[in-house]
Amino acid sequence: MTSKTTLKFMLAAGALSVGMSHGALAQDTVKIGSVLSATGPASFLGEPEDKTLRMYVDKINAAGGVAGKKIELVIYDDGGDANKARTFATRLVEDDKVVAMVGGSTTGTTMAMIPVFEDAKIPFISLAGAIEVIDPVRKFVFKTPHTDKMACEKIFEDLKKRNLTKIGLISGTDGFGASMRAQCVKVAPNYGMEIVADENYGPRDSDMTAQLTKIKNTAGLQAVVNPGFGQGPAIVTRNYAQLGMSNVPFYQSHGVASKSFIDLAGAAAEGVRLPAAALLVGDKLPESDPQKKVVTEYKQAYESATKQPVSTFGGHAYDGLFILVEAMKRANSTDSAKIRDEIEKTKGFVGTGGIVNMSATDHLGLDLSAFRMLEIKGGDWNLVASGS
């Protein structure tokens, strides 16, 4: 194909897709919007979310749609840019006239879009991690992923069981690390934790032995927690082993809950504990676990459709979509206000992230049971039996 014909082909394809989106404007469809960071630095979040939403909307439509209508999914890619996300949010509300929104891959893009949906009174289920999305509670904003505060609490709960109370923190200065560190410092007194060392590192640093040495030499240190994200925690883990600190219990966060962390950290990851969603250990869950069915089905569907390993981020999109779809079914309506009321009444929804029970004061609806404490053994995740 010459470049000219390629261009013509692409123009034609574009024209066709414009035509199709106009053709689908008929009364028998309902529009759900999404703005995701499918490209750019946060694409590891947005890409699985994008694939999950498209895959399940097709499935729902094949099964007859919702409330008597087919779903038309409108997805825009913000490239991780909060300003662009804001513009696309305006576009979804003003131009596409969506009835609800599932999206917002990062806390930054979500926070930028919240005013648009609050003003337009359209329900917005966010896929971002930080607690400020739902605290304070905003009438039209919900979210599905666990908060960093819950991760801290889960870690501290485990530390308390092991009678360890003097901890060192080493956190990344990126959004994830900084936000989780702040939450850990805040909830530490509730669990009787004393933070005896508090160090940080830049997200692109390649060596953290200086900070770790300082933590190692802190008197009375009993455990170390690493709120961090991306490759930083893998380097911290390697340095941790290099400094011979393996006798001090080491906790990572849910931010490293992907196989690539174990690959990057190698043997140094042995014995590291972290809180993570059930999705990561679906096949290791006991049959009696209420989430077993949902997580194994989602994992299988995602992996067979995309040929890529499942990630918890796609799971958040799955949860968001089905919380919305079930609310639409209960409301038997495509009216935004009625859908919002039904989302808030979500009770006992079994998702990949946990059992969701929302209320007027809780727009997340997860408790600490949503997190499982894992330990890395033999290069794989293992459930830590409760009580040990």
């Binding site: 897709s17 991780g80 300003n83 576009r91 926070m111 702040a182």
Partner: protein
């Protein structure tokens, strides 16, 4: 001189008419939002164009001043109790002072060295903004209180369209006038040949510094406007990629052409919106369009096209 005045007046008049007429064809507030973004980007780009196009100095860290303006209106009212409108001025003054202090040493550098120094300045400021989370909310950003003027709460895409449009008109008017003052002519002299300018008695260091300060103030005010418009700000706006975007707007539209900066902003802001129908080819096409226009319109869109029309008209 009369003709020149006329040309300046015509440019302003056309811009005012475009701003006034566009809303008549806009089907929804979304279009107001996109147009407001064009006006804001154009305002920042015009300032940068005074530095790059007129005075011939490069800045790869210009988003830092944009960020200072944006965070001034976020931090001022939230943490310090400064009224929102006054925070705009605080941001502009801060940017001007910083540009003055930093500009003195770094504008002695030339070419690549100046580019690296401004790049460093930009990275430093972005770093401070994303690290001082107690003040700035860190990498996740912070909310911005709504702007109130004499009891009038400025909010909504349609309102901001007019506010940013007015700001752009004022910015354009000042830039067009500046071009015709002794300062503007000194900038041109600097641009063409620094040695020659020095020989004829232009105080090179002083005029470079002036251009840098003016450009910083433009960016700062544009940043404040965007922060108010979004009601939210995060460090990306002060980051390196945004600096590159501003430079791209200036170069794409045409170095030294005020109208070019507006056209460049229009292209760079609206193209990604228009290209969403191509889904995964979006970024590919955006890159392709920019490459092709730079190959065929080397002096930028506006100077190349107006040159073409002039040649046509003569022949």
């Amino acid at each position: 001189m009369g003709a020149l005045l006329n040309q300046r007046f015509m440019t302003l008049a056309v811009l005012a008419v475009v701003i006034a007429v566009l809303p008549l064809v806009f089907p929804s507030s979304y279009y107001f939002r996109v147009a407001s973004l064009v006006w804001v980007s154009a305002l920042a780009a015009i300032g940068l164009n005074i530095l790059m196009g007129q005075a011939g100095q490069v800045s790869l860290g210009h988003a830092a001043f944009f960020g200072i303006g944006a965070y001034a209106v976020a931090i001022g009212p939230t943490h310090l109790g400064i009224p929102p409108w006054a925070a705009i001025l605080v941001g502009a003054v801060l940017s001007a002072v910083l540009a003055y202090l930093v500009g003195r040493p770094i504008l002695r550098l030339k070419g690549h060295y100046l580019a690296i120094a401004t790049l460093g300045l930009g990275v430093l400021i972005a770093l401070v903004i994303s690290t001082e989370s107690g003040w700035t909310g860190g990498p996740d950003g912070m909310p911005v209180e709504r702007l109130t003027l004499f009891g009038w709460r400025v909010s909504g895409s349609n309102t901001w369209y007019w506010v940013t449009g007015a700001l752009l008109l004022i910015g354009t008017w000042i830039a067009l006038n500046l071009d015709e003052t002794p300062t503007g002519r000194a900038f041109r002299a600097l641009h063409d040949s620094e040695v020659a300018a020095q020989v004829v008695g232009v105080d090179v260091a002083r005029f470079k510094l002036q251009a840098f300060v003016i450009a910083a103030v433009y960016a700062s005010i544009a940043g404040s406007a965007l922060a108010f418009m979004n009601g939210f700000i995060n460090p990306d706006q002060a980051g390196f990629l945004h600096s590159v975007e501003l430079v791209t707007i200036v170069v794409l539209g045409g170095l030294g052409s005020i109208v070019g900066s507006i056209v460049g902003a229009a292209v760079l802001v609206t193209l990604p919106q228009a290209l969403t129908i191509f889904h995964e080819y979006e970024h590919l096409l955006l890159g392709l369009i920019i490459i092709v226009s730079m190959i065929f319109m080397r002096n930028g869109i506006v100077p190349s096209l107006s040159g073409l029309f002039l040649r046509r008209a003569r022949s």
